[in-house]
């Protein structure tokens, strides 16, 4: 087992910078998820650890060793590919055994290890079959067995669940987490699926355009996104982001001096007053800001501060997403519980915000960075 570190790592393909000055450390035994949309550089970062791409600048270390110049086979990493990369002409047993053959492991030990890996992943009965005779889930498990059989220092997983159907994905996701917990092997897991990231990662590193946006535990990432990108990317549906201005209204005792007015975010004829705690942390910023409100922090109420009309109502069984447009066309999604009344399409509604200070996220309008502390 080992720690993996990126230190100022950059990877360029011609004029395109795929990974830009990435500095990140994954402690021994951690499952870190690299999350981002397609083309954000997450897979390239993974391939840099594997040695499948050359590093343009910076260093990658596994344990104490800088591996920039180390051959992929000598890095002691195992990779699970999106396509599984199973050898179609070999049986399951031979596929699992493949990495051991090259390492000069004797036949008896090979057989024992293959058997153990196959049993760990419930493949005992399938050892004689070829990949073409297996289902997607079984192939995925063979790929995992091939990765664990040689007990590497690091697992690298490149979107290993994206070829599975939804039900199997949920099951396999749990299997991988359980396996990683048991083996305690440092794991880098690449995905574009934020549900996978939230449910699997000890920590999540969000990337966009080759840059690391934020790295934190899933709950911290969700509760305190560092910028507009992370705020919108995490959550399903993502955070509502509305551009507005910080406006301070005069307080009753302002003339007496010392007292402060109510700080609100004004937009499109609406004004959302900020709780005192939030107001104190952002006072002096702006005035142009982006107000972020999670759909679950909103509800429809006649006393709501935001006026809007209903565009779409999405029934999802346990919850309903009410998609509204404000007067200026800003799109706001409200998540309602199963018992809440369903509004009609076109109906004018008012949207209220939970009084909890955690419900309010404020970002600088020009930089997109979070206002009011970490």
């Amino acid at each position: 087992m080992a720690q993996v570190s990126f230190d100022g790592v950059t990877k360029r393909f011609g004029d395109t910078t795929a990974v830009d000055d990435l500095t990140l450390s994954i402690p021994d035994g951690e499952l870190l998820v690299l999350l981002g949309s397609s083309g954000c550089g997450k897979t390239t970062a993974l391939r840099l650890v594997a040695g499948l791409e050359e590093i343009s600048a910076g260093t990658v270390s596994i344990g104490e060793r800088v591996v920039n110049e180390v051959d992929p086979k000598d890095r002691d990493v195992a990779m699970v590919f999106q396509s599984y990369a199973l050898y179609p002409h070999l049986t399951v047993a031979k596929n699992i055994e493949f990495p051991l053959r090259q390492r000069g492991v004797d036949k008896e030990e090979r057989t024992t290890k293959v058997k153990r890996a196959a049993e760990t992943l419930g493949l005992g009965d399938l050892l004689g079959r070829k990949p073409g005779q297996l289902s997607g889930g079984q192939r995925q498990r063979v790929a995992l067995a091939r990765a664990i059989v040689r007990e590497p220092l690091v697992f690298l997983m490149d979107e290993p669940l994206s070829n599975l159907d939804a039900a199997l994905r949920v099951q396999t996701r749990a299997d991988i987490v359980e396996l990683q917990n048991r083996l305690k092997t440092t794991t880098l897991y690449v995905t574009h699926d934020q549900v996978e990231a939230m449910t699997m990662g000890h920590r999540i590193a969000v990337m966009s355009e080759g840059k690391l946006q934020q790295v934190a535990a899933p709950e911290a990432l969700y509760a305190k996104p560092t910028n507009v990108f992370v705020a919108h990317f995490l959550g399903s549906p993502g955070m509502n982001l509305v551009e507005g201005m910080l406006v301070e209204s005069a307080s009753a005792d302002a003339s007496g001096g010392g007292g402060r007015g109510t700080l609100s975010v004004a937009f499109a004829g609406a004004s959302v007053p900020l709780p005192a705690e939030v107001a104190d942390s952002v006072r002096g910023s702006g005035p142009d800001v982006v107000l972020g409100l999670r759909p679950e922090a909103l509800h429809l109420s006649p006393d709501g501060v935001i006026g809007a009309s209903v565009i779409i109502v999405e029934l999802l069984g346990a919850e309903t997403h009410v998609i509204c447009h404000t007067e200026t066309g800003a799109r706001i999604i409200v998540r309602q519980g199963a018992g809440a009344p369903k509004p009609r399409i076109g109906e004018p509604v008012r949207i209220a915000v939970e009084p909890d200070p955690e419900a309010y996220h404020l970002f600088d309008s020009s930089s997109g960075n979070r206002l009011g502390g970490p």
Partner: protein
């Protein structure tokens, strides 16, 4: 399923039943037409071969009969013995077999190595070099004939197996065919093998070659056919007191002007094409697959 949905999805019973019935006679006519054409084509191809086999088993006097017999009542197998021994077909077949084996193995090895490089390696001028390989496909052998003969003679390879086979050890067609097959192998497989410690040579032998087996078999068949049926090159690159004649030149040697020699010549012709027939039967599937690759999805 709710009743209304079921009604919307299922076509009305009369439409469902009538539509295939309407198309059935037309489809049957088309099938009959196709099979008639195929049968006619097969007869055109097979009949000369059949007549050759029949004539090789007739007595010389039966050969001039009118109408000619279409079935040998008393097959004359001794003409085969004559062709094999006194006609020296055994020697010619052996020479052809050795030359063909060298060419087939040589073409497979060079094509595998070159195609692998074009498919999996990164090197300068890769595209240009591949284009050069393709261009060689467009140059007829006759264009390089004199140069090759000159080279072979100056290397003292005249009338040797080296002279017969070495000019044919590399083929642009083989490189192209195998490169296309190797390109079908997902890059992930190579990268997975790379992480597992397999270098290019081992990945090639353990993964790429086994996966390209159908194309390799097709190349082997094409290569065999080309080498076995060669006539001009063995004719000019061999000679002297003990010429290293191949089976096709041997056949010409068997041809006599007397009617009595015709069945022997025909027996020699049958001996010459039997290996090809066996090969085609064994590799029929691979051959068809490689010829239709890309045409059928």
């Amino acid at each position: 399923m709710p009743a209304d949905t079921a009604r919307a999805v299922a076509p009305p019973a009369d439409v469902a039943a009538a539509s295939p019935r309407m198309h059935r006679p037309r489809r049957r006519l088309r099938t009959i037409g196709s099979y008639t054409l195929l049968t006619a084509a097969a007869v055109v191809v097979i009949f000369p071969i059949y007549i050759t086999v029949v004539n090789s088993l007739l007595r010389p006097d039966q050969l001039v009969q009118q109408p000619p017999p279409l079935f040998p009542r008393t097959p004359q197998w001794h003409d085969y013995t004559a062709a094999w021994t006194t006609g020296q077909m055994s020697k010619y077949v052996a020479t052809s077999a050795i030359m063909t084996a060298i060419i087939v193995v040589g073409q497979l090895v060079t094509s595998i190595l070159a195609a692998y490089a074009f498919a999996f390696l990164r090197f300068p001028f890769k595209r240009t070099l591949f284009l050069v390989c393709l261009v060689t496909l467009m140059i007829p052998f006759e264009v390089t004939f004199i140069t090759n003969l000159d080279t072979v003679t100056s290397l003292h390879w005249f009338n040797t197996y080296a002279g017969l086979s070495i000019p044919f050890l590399a083929t642009g067609f083989g490189i192209f065919l195998l490169r296309q097959a190797f390109l079908q192998i997902p890059r992930d497989l190579q990268e997975a093998a790379q992480l597992d410690g397999y270098g290019h040579l081992r990945f090639m032998t353990r993964v790429a070659v086994p996966l390209a087996r159908p194309s390799l078999a097709a190349l082997a068949v094409f290569s065999f056919l080309g080498a076995w049926n060669q006539y001009l090159w063995p004719l000019v690159s061999t000679g002297g007191t003990t010429p290293l004649y191949t089976v096709q030149i041997g056949l010409k040697e068997l041809l006599g002007t007397e009617v009595s020699q015709i069945p022997v010549s025909l027996a020699g012709a049958v001996i010459a094409f039997v290996p090809l027939v066996i090969l085609l039967i064994i590799f029929q599937k691979q051959l068809v697959r490689s010829l239709t690759a890309g045409a059928v999805k």
